[in-house]
Amino acid sequence: MATSDIELTGSSAAYSPDNPAPLIEAPRARTPRTAGSTGRSRTNFELYGWVFMRLSGIVLAVLVVGHLLIQLVLDGGVSKVSFAFVAGRWASPFWQGWDLLMLWLAMLHGANGLRTVINDYAERDGTRFWLKMLLYAATVFTVLLGTLVIFTFDPNIR
């Protein structure tokens, strides 16, 4: 079929050999000038991130399953959880430490996971930058607020 035989319709009517349609582009193609192919200071950030995900995952499995057992299953289940129950647990530095560790590891693990998801799926540089800023802001806020509550919790609040 010669190109001139093809009947052009709709949005394609304007295209011809002299005025070809834009190619079907792939997202963010690699070029000789792609950052990283030459120069650029290298860090081990991604390596440490990868190792952190594995190690924190193992620790979190223990912390979270233990937390769920205590809160929801053992000793009367979820009905026992009340202000007094939480106040009693946080009187002990051990449970304070447990919850603090769980908060920090879960937040950093989750934030790093979402960071990789954003890097994988956000195509435009602006989108990925702002999504990550939103993620970092939410992470910092949650971690700081949680830490503040664990350390300044007052069981006699009225």
Binding site: M1, A21, P22, A29, R30
Partner: protein, 255 residues
């Protein structure tokens, strides 16, 4: 121009009872930037021996039905790596895929490989793929004077990277990787496989440098271990395993 669609009743009536031929439908993703901005599916009915390959059917279509069909192929015997395409939703070499193995009773879909810019029909721009390949320095690096004879290596040392020497750079693995589909900045499995081939070669001296390149944010750490690349490789290279070995080398170097 002859219509590409063969009349089914006529085709079947003309065929003797013991004929090995079947009538298979090839549903091909067409794109011609000189005619339209969008790609579209076009069906071709081809009478063909099911023991032949998809490439033979493409030849039949191009030579007998529609000469404008555009695709790459060079050796046609699974060595050059030109004709990787997405056949029935999986990346394969058209020259190594027998029609009887891919359910010819249903329409067989043929598309260009994903994640690279489509230029026409089944042809994609391979330049970003080769750029990633060049970026890992896929050549022997040594220092000092060249020996006057071969650089000898024990059988065990050769065995260490034997799997990754099989790569034919067809891009079936890289264009099956979901990370690469969304972000072409990722080196992709093929580049890592070819880095692996030299990193674990006892004669090479730039392993450190290549590891450093792949330690990049677009390097091995973006691998999500989905095994698409291992499934796609027409040479049977354990691609994901090679990527994991590079990760392990980076970690053991560090700790």
């Amino acid at each position: 121009m002859a219509t590409p669609v063969m009349d089914k009743a006529e085709a079947e009536a003309a065929r003797p009872a013991d004929s090995p031929y079947i009538t298979a439908t090839f549903r091909i993703r067409r794109f011609n930037p000189e005619a339209a901005a969008e790609s579209y599916w076009e069906d071709f009915r081809v009478e063909i021996d099911p023991k032949e390959r998809v490439l033979d059917a493409l030849h039949k279509i191009k030579w007998d039905l529609d000469g404008t069909l555009t695709f790459r192929r060079s050796c046609a015997h699974g060595i050059c790596g030109s004709d990787a395409m997405r056949i029935n939703g999986r990346n394969r070499l058209a020259c190594k895929t027998l029609i009887k193995d891919i359910a010819p009773e249903k329409p067989i879909t043929v598309e260009p490989i994903k994640g690279l810019t489509v230029q026409k029909d089944l042809i994609v721009d391979m330049e970003p793929f080769f750029q990633a390949y060049r970026d890992v320095m896929p050549f022997l690096v040594t220092h000092g004077n060249e020996p006057t004879r071969e650089r000898l290596q024990s059988a065990e040392d050769r065995e260490r990277f034997d799997d990754t020497t099989k790569c034919i750079l067809c891009a079936a693995c890289t264009s099956s990787c979901p990370v690469f589909w969304n972000d072409g900045q990722y080196f992709g499995p093929a580049a890592i496989v070819n880095a692996h081939r030299f990193i674990f070669d006892s004669r090479d001296e730039a392993g450190e440098q290549r590891l450093e390149i792949l330690n990049d944010k677009d390097g091995v750490w973006r691998c999500r271990t989905t095994f698409n690349c291992t499934d796609a490789c027409p040479r049977g290279i354990e691609v994901t395993k090679a990527i994991q070995e590079v990760k392990r080398a980076l970690i053991t170097r560090r700790f």
